[in-house]
Amino acid sequence: MGMTLTEKILARHAGVASLEPGQIINAKVDLVLANELSAAVAISVMRGMKGAKQVFDPSRIALVADHFVPAKDAQSAKLAKVMKEFAVEQKIEHFFDVGRGGIEHVVLPEEGLVAPGELIVGGDSHTCTYGAFGAFATGMGSTDIAAAFVLGEVWLKVPASIKLVYSGTPGPMVYAKDIMLRTVGELGIDGATYRAIEYHGTTVDELSITGRITMANMAIEAGAKNGIFHADAKTIAYVKERTERPFIVEKADADAVYERVISIDISALEPQVACPHTPDNVHPISEVTREDLPVDQVFIGSCTNGYIDDLRIVAQMLDGRKIAPSLRVIVNPGSQKVWMQAAQEGILTTLAAAGCAVNTPGCGACFGGHMGTLGDNERAISTTNRNYVGRMGSPKAEIYLASPATCAASALTGRITDPRTIAEIDIPVRTSSHVSLLTGAYTE
């Protein structure tokens, strides 16, 4: 019987010729990831383990400070310190402090730490992002990560696979984010629980690496264990530019068995928006804008949409314009490298000139940690991945999830806006940022 892409990778890492869904395996890991929150707990668990003196391989662990950095408070500083000291003590090769890394899932592929056919576990649910490169990658909690630190192995239940086959060319202002939001809307937030998602079809063949990252990243939003693409020439070129490490490109068998096969034609897909308070409450933009929805904060960034391609789209739309006086826009380039690239291209200046606050890379705003927390009764539109109650701060705030283009359009008008209408809207180019909050009028 044939195997799916996920089954192929798991079988090789478990040292077995074949396996089937539901089977429990012990699999060798190629890389174990943690951030300062999950690492601090994992390190404390490891310190309490009898016989656990060192990590299985200091070159196969990545530690990235990204959630509460630059440290929000003394407690956060302590967690980052615990991780740093551990990295020094254990001679961890891939340790990224603030200023030298960024968001873990943006950093690891950039640094060549992710390659096709590999098995990666991380102390963060969006570890599934690396499926974009044809790797099996899944998120776990800190105790599991501690076990992986010392054993270099994890136990896994082999997931059944759901095959998603996309066809059609995206229309104007329709991006990978819109396709994935629609997908989560179709599957539901527990529609792929305990399952692997395998992405197929001409649409995703044409997608950029960044687009695939956005889609793999949100597999967890449908509850999936992992979301995976087949590596192609684009993937191999991306990875080979960043590492000389050999890797094995796996391919699903022609007679692989899928639990479900779902065809999705995106030809007529509009930009999509996930409305409060679940990521599967997804509606086409034309439906959402029937109601006037003024926005208090626009957020651009995260492991879903904090890449240079995303910032280019936003900068193009905001170039020479000013954001609406009624709101604030916060931009977090996903990594230090993305930040520098954006600086070189003049993107950061364009965004700042439009009135955006450009932050240092990090996860803070996305999970309600710091650097962009929402207050009571505020409404945000965001390029992030979750909109649960309280996700970005106050439980009384509303979060809408959308693509960078839809967020940029909304930033210009001050309300949730269809990006396809932006060329038609007359947005005054303002020269001063002094604005009366009461009247919305500008003073020179």
Binding site: S38, K50, A52, S125, G141, T143, D190, K225, G369, R386
Partner: protein
């Protein structure tokens, strides 16, 4: 693991996510008791004040969906909650709960047969869920053999310790 657990039920709906179980702003806390003070704060801010040690959380499908934060089950445990009964659990939460020793029970029938305030008795070893108030009894889904052996060994940590001992 204790032979039986007893407490009053606090019932919630489906998709209780980790952001409402323990909001992100508390994720830099490592102390279990301190985390417990904020358990379910995003969903039911009165939960911690209302509940008594030993009480039981009852929920519909997909309990614990969202992030991988291990502090979610730790906060529930830290609040004094003795167990969670749900129709189903999200994958990472399920692993985390087993790893940190928060008893979980999967049973759609039990959830349907329990209302908030009911007195519930649980037997972790056998998976028996007894609704003392209504005089009904249910049996939760059995753990797969591998997970059962992990639980019986005392969790993942003793399992790893044994592996390490065999390596040396």
């Amino acid at each position: 693991m204790e032979s039986s657990l007893r407490g009053r039920a606090h019932k919630y709906g489906k998709n209780v996510d980790t952001d409402v179980i323990i909001p992100g702003k508390y994720c830099n806390i490592t102390d279990q008791t301190e985390l417990g003070k904020h358990a379910l704060e995003g969903l039911d801010p009165e939960f911690v004040a209302r509940m008594k040690p030993g009480d039981i959380i009852v929920a519909d499908t997909n309990f614990g969906c969202g992030s991988s934060r291990e502090v979610a089950p730790i906060a529930i445990k830290g609040s004094g909650t003795s167990a969670v009964i749900a129709k189903s659990f999200a994958r990472i939460f399920y692993r985390n709960a087993l790893n940190i020793g928060l008893p979980i029970f999967e049973s759609a029938e039990a959830v349907d047969g329990i209302e908030s305030g009911d007195e519930i008795e649980l037997e972790p070893a056998s998976g028996v869920v007894r609704n003392v108030t209504r005089g009904t009894e249910y049996r939760a889904a059995e753990f797969p053999p591998f997970m059962r052996s992990l639980i019986d060994a005392g969790g993942l940590v003793p399992y790893v310790e044994e592996r390490l001992a065999n390596q040396s």
